[in-house]
Structures are given as structure tokens and as C-alpha cells.
């Protein structure tokens, strides 16, 4: 019996090896565990569409290391366990690199499997500092700036650029992202010399901001700036609630604001004096290659992208391609080293990863955007001088 099990196991291993080897001979496979259904879908679907454009672009221009690139996505279904299983399936199919979902909670299982298999995994836009080599391993990266950069950029913009001295901070208790973003903003804003008048809590999905408003009104002082870290539709709900009762102070936030649906929902009357830090901007102002990407995207998908998050997918694949080229192979250790050593000029900003000891901190530039009459306008790239400790 034992012999049978053993021989079966070795047979399976052989088959797997054979499968992997044959797959690696003629093409390079990028495995995506992006979530196309469930709560994560709004962030992951655009990333995947952007990645598809990048893969086609690579193949049309001679492939990578002389091989064709293939992108296979297995739906992670917004469930961490499923994401992990999707990654296992992709690795079995011979994936050389893994593209992980856009969030630590949903993306990390894919990165853990990639690490286990000794290959590089990159999350398309997870921004929590938990997405680091400290917690996931020496071959794992995130394309996004960390929330330390995002929060610090917002705080520097408010205090140093605009001279806003007092802030009212609202934190949605939804996920690690919403909580840590406020934390780093407050840290940097205080370090700059600013004063936090009031910190308040919101529960995602409440769609009711009246108790918080009552507390703000009871304060008797109007803040110079309102920092609001929330997620999804609730951002629009809260801004609407604030504006309706006459709080017209500037509202500041992170990349969750980068959502044309929210901009349209606020519209001309309410979508003013709102600022946010995000990854990029969909015009050539942000990057000379942006127009090329937009044209390719339009060609492939038949419509212009509906969010700037598509650029994170393109960048993830292009970053992988650059690193593989520099390493001369898809071997995990070599690609990881190329990522650590290289400096990259991406659609989503200049990127320079820290070493494994530094957690693969993505030293990255961020974009500031202002909402005017419900329309986003590009304010430019910013890089904070000091970062709060993660």
C-alpha cells in the first residue's frame, strides 16, 4: 500500500514536472488570480483588463526573452481561500509569475502560494504595508505605493502646500486599508505641526452619517480640511452628507476616490473642493506613454477605460517583463533581485523597491487629483520627503 502511494506521488510529481517543463519551453505564463466576481471585482477587473492589453503589446513586439507571453486568469471570487487555490492551479499550469489581487486580505494567499513555489508574485494595487517581504517572503511585491506614502502625501499636500492647519478625520472601520490610511495621515499631519480637531468612526454600509455630523457640529469649530478614509460607495454618501448641511471645507482622501462613478454621483454641484492621492491620471500629463496605453486599451476592449486602475494591470505586466528581461530568466530569485535592483518608470509613477530587509517598500511617486464640478483634474506628481513608520 505504502509503495503504491509513493509511486503514485512520484508519478504525479513527474507529470507535474513534465507539464511545467514543457510549458516553460515555448512560452512564459503569467498567472492571474484576480477576482472577477464579488466585492473585490470593481478593483480587480480593471487591473486584469489592463494586464491583457500589456500582454498583447508584449507579444506584438516580439514577446519576452524570445518567447510568447500567455496570461491565464483564474477567478479568485473575492474569497481568500479561493484566491489561494487559484494560485495553486495556476502554478500547476506552469505559471512563471503570479499577479495577485488588489488588496492584502484577498491578494496575500496568492502571494503565499507563489512564494512557496519559489516564483515572483506582484499584487496589482494592494497598498497596505502588510503587503511586504516581511510578511509574504523575499519574492513578493506590490505595485502600489504603500499607505504610508499615500497618507503622507495627503498630509504634506494639506499642510505644506495648502496651509490647512486643522483637520477633521473620519475613518471607516471597513478594512486594513481604510484604517491604516487614516493612521498615516494623522501621523504625518501631526509631524508637520497640524492639529487634529476630531477623529470619528464610520461603519461601511451604514449610509448614515448624521451622528458624526452632530458631533462635528457640537465641536463648534470648522476644520480647515476633512480627511475621509472610506471605501466604495460610502465616500460619496459621506461627502454628500457633509456638503448638504453646509460643510464646504476641502475633503481629502486616498485612491479609493479614484472612481468615475463616485465623481458622477456627486456631480457638478457637490463634486467640488475634493482632493485625493492616487496612482496615476488618464491623460498624457501623467506619463508620456499614457496615450499609447489608452489607444491600445480602446483597440482591445472597444471602449475607453472607466477607471485609472486599469493602468495598475498594465504596469504589473510591464514591470514583470522588465524584471524578467534584466534577469534573463523567469527564475524567482533572479527576477526578485532584478526588481529590487532596478528603477522603473511606470504609468503609475517612478518606482524603486527597497531590499528584502526593508520589506520591499515601494518608494513611489503619487498623483494628486482635484475634483472640480464633478470632473477630476490633474495636479501633478508628489513624493513625500519623510514617510511614517509602517
Amino acid at each position: 500500500m505504502q509503495i503504491t502511494t509513493k509511486s503514485l506521488a512520484s508519478l504525479t510529481a513527474l507529470l507535474l514536472l513534465a507539464g511545467t517543463a514543457s510549458a516553460q519551453d515555448d512560452k512564459i505564463i503569467i498567472g492571474g488570480a484576480m477576482c472577477l466576481t464579488g466585492v473585490q471585482a470593481p478593483l480587480d477587473t480593471p487591473g486584469m483588463k489592463g494586464a491583457e492589453v500589456a500582454v498583447k503589446y508584449l507579444n506584438d513586439n516580439g514577446g519576452l526573452l524570445g518567447k510568447q507571453v500567455e496570461f491565464i486568469n483564474v477567478d479568485g471570487k473575492s474569497d481568500p481561500v479561493t484566491v489561494g487555490n487559484a494560485a495553486v492551479e495556476l502554478i500547476d499550469k506552469g505559471a512563471d509569475l503570479i499577479m495577485a489581487p488588489c488588496d492584502f486580505d484577498f491578494g496575500s494567499p496568492a502571494s503565499r502560494e507563489a512564494q512557496e513555489a519559489g516564483i515572483v508574485g506582484i499584487s496589482a494595487c494592494a497598498s497596505d504595508p502588510l503587503y511586504s517581504s516581511w510578511s509574504l517572503g523575499d519574492k513578493q511585491f506590490t505595485l502600489s505605493m504603500w499607505n504610508t506614502t499615500m497618507g503622507a502625501t495627503a498630509a504634506d499636500f494639506a499642510f505644506k502646500e495648502k496651509g490647512w492647519k486643522t483637520a477633521y478625520v473620519v475613518t471607516d472601520q471597513f478594512i486594513a486599508y481604510t484604517k491604516s490610511l487614516s493612521k498615516y495621515f494623522v501621523d504625518q499631519f501631526k509631524a508637520n505641526g497640524g492639529e487634529i480637531l476630531l477623529e470619528d468612526t464610520y461603519t461601511n454600509g451604514d449610509n448614515n452619517f448624521s451622528a458624526q455630523l452632530a458631533r462635528l457640529q457640537a465641536l463648534g469649530k470648522k476644520p480647515d480640511v476633512i480627511f475621509l478614509s472610506s471605501y466604495g460607495q460610502d465616500i460619496g454618501v459621506i461627502i454628500r452628507a457633509l456638503r448638504e448641511v453646509g460643510y464646504d471645507a476641502p475633503v481629502l482622501g486616498g485612491d479609493a476616490y479614484d472612481d468615475p462613478g463616485m465623481h458622477a454621483a456627486l456631480g457638478e454641484s457637490l463634486g467640488n473642493n475634493v482632493f485625493f492621492v492616487t496612482h496615476t491620471f488618464m491623460t498624457p500629463d501623467a506619463h508620456p506613454d499614457m496615450q499609447k496605453f489608452l489607444d491600445l486599451y480602446q483597440q482591445m476592449h472597444g471602449a475607453a477605460p472607466d477607471t485609472a486602475f486599469v493602468a495598475t494591470g498594465w504596469d504589473t505586466v510591464m514591470l514583470m517583463a522588465e524584471a524578467v528581461k534584466a534577469a534573463g530568466s523567469t527564475e524567482g530569485g533572479a527576477v526578485a533581485k532584478a526588481l529590487e535592483d532596478g528603477k522603473f518608470k511606470l504609468l503609475t509613477g517612478d518606482l524603486d523597491y527597497g531590499t528584502t530587509e526593508e520589506g520591499h517598500v515601494p518608494n513611489k511617486a503619487a498623483v494628486m487629483v482635484e475634483l472640480k464640478g464633478g470632473k477630476p483634474t490633474f495636479l501633478g506628481w508628489r513624493t513625500p520627503e519623510r514617510l511614517p513608520a509602517p
Partner: protein
């Protein structure tokens, strides 16, 4: 004083929405003894109808009427697709078909429209504010209160004074007996789904009026709220559902106003602890429904 007025308006407007949500769920439960897990998707249907008509140039009220009609049709479709074919078989079967229908509708929206939030047209009236006794409140909240009062009154009238209402109450009390006395089962059940869809449609407009956008998963929160409210109020009683809705809003709003920042993070834990306490005290909910009746 201002504070008190603000508080009362908040409780009533949130409670009004919650009560309507709960009523839409309990009307089907009362007759079939089955929770319609696709209830939240009726709200989604209303939302996406608004989105799809947003470019049509129709007056808002017409769009809203179409959205409510679509929710009613979706409610009736729930009956035909998920309930009627397996109704006589087992509770488990219907449970699963209603989940399946919910998933089907959500994924249809995700695939054919978009996983990203879509803007829903709102009348300017919704964002205007009024000042009552020093408290500034969006007109939307008052509209919600008014809609809840009117619909609850109409609903009570329907259930007490019309043949359909009386037949539905009879069916909810003892379905087999009602059928023996000539109450047509399918008609009654379809009517319950239609009313459920109507309430979901109206509540959808009010709920999405707070948000401004619609996503495939928009129905989850209302379904959860409706479910908790009916559990508190009594699964078998229509008035219980309304009371449960207002009570849940009262608990939520009170906690929102009074908890300190450190505790506010755990507000839902407090809410559910209170719900558990209420259920320990009244295991059948606050209002007991009709005493007899087997699931049919």
C-alpha cells in the same frame, strides 16, 4: 433641543426605510414560511433600472415608476423561477433556489453592466435641506419618513379592508384551511411577491437616494437589515416587522450618538448583543404572529 430633533428625524427616517424593507421580506415569509434570499436583488433591479434609464431624458418620476414596476416584475419572477417549481418539495430546496436566483441576478449585473458603481439619477429635491428647530436635515430624510407613513397606512388598509388582503392574512394564518375555503394559492403567493417587489422598489429608490450609485451587491445590506428587523419583531407578524425595523434603527442611531470613539468601532457587536438579549427575552420576537399554521 436641536440635538433631540436631529436624533428623532434620524431614527424616524432610518426606521421608516428599515420598516419597509422588513415588511417586504415578512409578507412572503408569513405565507410561505420561507425567507426570500433574493429580496435584496429586487432593490438592485430598481437601482439598475434607474441607471439604464438615466440617459433617456424622461422625468425622474417616470423613471422611478418604471424602476418600481421592474422590481415588482422581478418579485413575481422570483416566485416563478425560484419558489413555485420546488415549493411543495423541501425547505432546503427553496432555500437553495432563492440563493441561486440571487446569485444569478447579481452576476448578471456584474457581467452585463459592470462590477463598478454606476450613477443613478436623483432629483435635486433629494439633496435640498430644510431647517427644523435649528437642525439642518436633507429633505430626503423627510421624504423617507413620509413615504414610510403613507405606504404603511396603505398597506394596513390593503390587509384589513380588501378581499386580497383578507385572503392573504388567512393564508398566513392557516394556508391549508384557506385553500380549502377557496382561496387560490398561486394567486395569493404571486400577489405577496408582487407587494414585496413594490416595497423593495420604493425602498430601493429611497435607499439609493442616500448613496447615488448602484453596484451588484447593493441588496446585501437591506436584506440583512430586513432579516434582523423581522427576527426582532417576530417572523410571523406584519406589525412586528415594522416595529422591528424602527427598533433596529433606534438601537443603531442611539449607539452611533452615544458610544465613545473607541467603542464605536465595535458598534455592530453591541447591536447584535442587544438583538440576542431581546431574543432571549422574547424568543419568538416582540410580536407573536397567528398561532397556527404549518408550512405548506
Amino acid at each position: 433641543m436641536t440635538f433631540a430633533i436631529q436624533f428623532v428625524i434620524d431614527v424616524l427616517s432610518l426606521g421608516g426605510a428599515y420598516a419597509l424593507m422588513a415588511l417586504g421580506l415578512v409578507i412572503v415569509y408569513g405565507i410561505l414560511r420561507l425567507v426570500n434570499f433574493a429580496y435584496g436583488e429586487l432593490i438592485m433591479v430598481a437601482g439598475y433600472t434607474m441607471f439604464l434609464f438615466s440617459g433617456s431624458g424622461l422625468p425622474w418620476l417616470v423613471m422611478a415608476a418604471v424602476a418600481v414596476i421592474m422590481a415588482v416584475l422581478a418579485g413575481i419572477a422570483t416566485d416563478y423561477v425560484a419558489f413555485r417549481p420546488v415549493r411543495a418539495k423541501s425547505v432546503t430546496a427553496v432555500l437553495i433556489t432563492s440563493f441561486a436566483f440571487s446569485t444569478l441576478l447579481q452576476n448578471a449585473a456584474l457581467l452585463f453592466i459592470s462590477p463598478r458603481p454606476q450613477t443613478v439619477p436623483l432629483p435635486a429635491l433629494f439633496s435640498q435641506t430644510v431647517t427644523i428647530g435649528g437642525a439642518i436635515t436633507p429633505l430626503r430624510n423627510l421624504i423617507t419618513i413620509a413615504a414610510a407613513v403613507i405606504l404603511l397606512a396603505l398597506f394596513a388598509l390593503l390587509m384589513r379592508r380588501t378581499v386580497l388582503g383578507i385572503a392573504m392574512r388567512a393564508a398566513a394564518t392557516n394556508f391549508t384551511m384557506a385553500r380549502m375555503l377557496g382561496v387560490p394559492a398561486n394567486l395569493i403567493i404571486s400577489s405577496a411577491f408582487a407587494i414585496s417587489g413594490f416595497l423593495a422598489g420604493v425602498v430601493g429608490l429611497l435607499w439609493i437616494g442616500r448613496i447615488g450609485t448602484v453596484v451588484p451587491g447593493i441588496g446585501l445590506e437591506p436584506l440583512l437589515v430586513a432579516f434582523i428587523a423581522t427576527v426582532i419583531g417576530g417572523m410571523r407578524s406584519l406589525s412586528g416587522a415594522v416595529i422591528g425595523g424602527f427598533l433596529l434603527a433606534l438601537i443603531d442611531t442611539t449607539l452611533n450618538y452615544t458610544l465613545s470613539q473607541d467603542l464605536l468601532k465595535f458598534r455592530d457587536a453591541f447591536t447584535f448583543s442587544l438583538v440576542i438579549l431581546i431574543l432571549l427575552w422574547r424568543p419568538e420576537g416582540l410580536v407573536k404572529g397567528p398561532a397556527t399554521g404549518q408550512r405548506t
